[in-house]
């Protein structure tokens, strides 16, 4: 088991606009990290302090819970309020 995992980060809509200058394309996290750990890291070390308190997250193209465990190589997307239709 690796001690550290690396996940790919994706930003869409308003988050994409806000993240375009300084947000990471990948983030390293301790293994056994959850979506919630990921968000804490994004808001802190990764400098995305503009993220609102509640953020919807998709892991590998599926909506995820805060408790969802992340694995090395996962694609983690930050989903602002959707507005299709």
């Amino acid at each position: 088991m690796t001690e550290v995992i690396s996940v790919r980060t994706l930003f869409f809509g308003i988050y994409g606009e806000l993240s375009q200058y300084k947000s990471p394309g990948y983030l390293e996290l301790p293994s056994e990290s959850t979506v919630e750990d990921f968000l804490d890291e994004m808001r802190g070390a990764a400098g995305c302090d503009w993220l609102p308190e509640r953020v919807v997250v998709a892991v590998n193209q599926r909506y995820a819970e805060m408790e969802t465990l992340l694995n090395d190589g996962d694609e983690v997307a930050l989903i602002p309020p959707v507005a299709g239709g």
């Binding site: 994409g16 609102p52 998709a58 997307a77 507005a83 299709g84 239709g85």
Partner: protein
């Protein structure tokens, strides 16, 4: 008409698409369904010239492409299990759209009209709830806004 063949289980007749191509024509819906279907309902969402009291000049739709395709397929698959429909064809446009262009088009065929109305309504509401697509509205006054997102300023 798509013939359903002689399978004992009816085939799931669902077709979905996230596309940059125009959805303005109705050709995709000309032959929806089979002789089992007594009703067809086609919904189109179009770019309006106003929203929330502001004059809109154009729109861009951004999608999380792979996930949007998966979700639209999931929504329509779920609809076909919830409702006794014949066929479903649901398409969402992405990219830059002009006023009057079709952004979303949903066609349903079913034995009975009640089912068409219920399924069509359900699908468009689910699309608005969970399809990972974002609408960037451009206004006549030069301003623009991500619809539904709070105005967040980078600090």
């Amino acid at each position: 008409m798509h013939e359903q063949g002689s399978l004992s289980e009816p085939e799931l007749d669902v077709c979905t698409r996230i596309t940059q191509d125009s959805l303005d024509g109705l050709g995709a819906f000309e032959n929806l369904g089979t002789h089992e279907d007594g009703a067809v309902l086609i919904f189109q969402g179009r770019v309006r010239n106003t929203n929330d009291g502001r004059s809109v000049s154009s729109l861009s739709y951004e999608a999380y492409g792979e996930m949007a395709e998966r979700e639209l397929g999931a929504i329509c698959g779920e609809a076909s299990r919830r409702f006794e429909v014949g066929s479903i064809e649901a398409n969402h446009r992405i990219g830059d759209l002009e006023l009057g262009e079709v952004s979303v088009a949903i066609g349903i065929s079913a034995p009975h009209r009640d089912t068409c109305y219920a399924a069509s309504r359900w699908i468009i509401e689910e699309i608005k709830k969970r399809l990972p697509i974002w609408k960037h509205e451009h206004y006549q006054d030069g301003d623009s806004h991500w619809v539904g997102s709070p105005e967040v300023s980078k600090t």
